[in-house]
Symmetry: C2
Subunit: 145 residues, 2 copies
């Protein structure tokens, strides 16, 4: 019950951040994941981590590129691929929102001990891993429709 409200709140919060930046929740989600590990990604990788088709991922990159958040560059190893790289100075505008709201979150974390943070992080990590196997199971199960 607690986690339901927690996750629902995150969806709303993500939406609010997106509105504030004039972006879409999907775009913010994508930028969040891109900056988590700022290495260049292919369009297909972006499609996988956002759950979209490659076609929609192309449009997503179109929007982000038009907004100046990322740049496209051809891959020298595989000329079919396109490498999408975030633009740090533009991304900073996004993280600025987080920084503004950061202290409150920081104090929330500071109230926990190291051991407690480890417990929380472990739970999230395991839930993250489990969700992937569960999603595969969902997709292989016939639909109840």
């Amino acid at each position: 019950m607690e986690s339901r409200r927690y996750l629902a709140a995150y969806v709303l919060f993500n939406q609010a951040v997106a509105d504030h930046l004039g972006l879409h929740p999907t775009d913010v989600q994508c930028l969040s994941l891109l900056t988590a590990d700022p290495g260049p990604r292919t369009v297909k990788q972006i499609a996988e981590m956002t759950g979209l088709t490659t076609g929609s991922a192309t449009r997503l990159v179109d929007r982000l590129e038009r907004g100046g958040y990322v740049v496209r560059a051809p891959d020298r190893q595989d000329r079919r691929r396109v490498l999408v790289t975030p633009v740090p100075e533009r991304i900073a505008r996004v993280t600025a929102v987080w920084d503004d709201l950061g202290p409150a979150w920081q104090s929330l974390l500071d109230d926990h001990s190291e051991a407690e943070l480890e417990v929380i992080a472990r739970h999230m990590r395991r839930a993250y891993e489990l969700s992937h196997t569960q999603m595969q199971r969902l997709r292989s199960t016939p639909k109840p429709d």
Copy 2:
């Protein structure tokens, strides 16, 4: 970093559940919140807890009613209002998905002690509360556009 991936995974998972049921992520989100406290809600309350406008909330209830997940009933106290009540037997189809996936999640929780679960729950509860105040702050801050 851990929470980013955790939350991103939830979005994908929610999407997968929605696809599996032939619904939209927003609809699943709404049903999840409705069943969290199965009391009847007005359309406006649904709009608030999903972050939609009242107009879109009307369409949302339309879809859910057409699918048989909820029923509309007039409010006797205030005849402007419409009370939306979930249909248990139909909702069961949704929770069946959770039940099927439940044991794995249960074992995830069982690996934690009571004290650890309390730490996690407390963190989620506080993050939930904080997100609301942060969203208000976001909305009152001028957009950087």
